[in-house]
């Protein structure tokens, strides 16, 4: 498809397990973002990738969270030793960096439930 694709759409895991969430951005988009959406908390910025530059990791809540972007395209968000407070919808978005509109295109998200 032409949109941002995320997988899995739903993930249920046990506390202490590691999880990987995948994002496939729109082809040609150089910028990729991860946000976390928790009930009543809105969208919380996690990490931002732009081309080959070092990522902006300022939003990652702890060192259990990490993300990679391989070949300037697909990204994986990894949460190690999951905790119940990690339960949320993780949203990925992509955009053109050099078009100064600021519009982000979002995937449908990966809903993570930690039991």
């Amino acid at each position: 498809g032409a949109g941002v694709s995320q997988s899995p759409s739903n993930k249920v895991t046990e506390k202490g397990k590691d999880v990987e969430l995948r994002c496939d951005p729109i082809s040609g988009h150089t910028a990729l973002y991860w946000y976390r959406q928790s009930l009543g908390q809105g969208l919380e910025f996690l990490i931002y990738f732009q081309g080959n530059s070092a990522p902006d990791k300022s939003g990652l809540p702890s060192d259990r969270f990490s993300a990679e972007r391989t070949g300037g395209s697909v990204s994986t968000l990894t949460i190690q030793r999951t905790q119940q407070e990690d339960s949320a919808v993780y949203l990925c978005a992509s955009s053109f960096r050099d078009r100064d509109t600021g519009e982000l295109f979002f995937g449908e998200g990966s809903r993570l439930t930690v039991l």
Binding site: A31, F45, R97
Partner: protein, 113 residues
């Protein structure tokens, strides 16, 4: 840095009534402003945006928002809502020259028949 405040977490309104969803922002630089909508079980979609020019911007489905620099606001309005407008609405800001968007906490618009 920028911040966005959406004062109302929920707004219930009757069908065909007008609605206003409030958004205020703070920024030390000039900004671009956005409203995104999230329908149930879907991702966020851009509803409308202000980049420059006319301070009143409109969407294709009847929503409009007005950029008010003196009041640092970008309230979203619709003169007559429909059941299908039930969704979560997020206001967002981006500082000029910055990357990414800062979002408000969202307002859940609930349309009552």
């Amino acid at each position: 840095a920028q911040s966005v405040t959406q004062l109302d977490s929920q707004v219930p309104v009757f069908e065909e009534a007008p609605v206003e969803l409030r958004c205020n922002y703070s920024s030390s630089v000039s900004v671009y402003l956005f409203w995104y909508v999230q329908y149930p079980n879907q991702g966020l979609q851009l509803l409308l945006k202000y980049l420059s020019g006319s301070t009143l911007v409109e969407s294709i489905n009847g929503f409009e928002a007005e950029f008010n620099k003196s009041q640092t606001s970008f309230h979203l309005r619709k003169p007559s809502v429909h059941i299908s407008d039930t969704a979560e609405y997020f206001c967002a800001v981006r500082g000029q020259g910055a990357d990414g968007l800062t979002f408000g906490k969202g307002t859940h618009l609930i349309i009552q028949p």
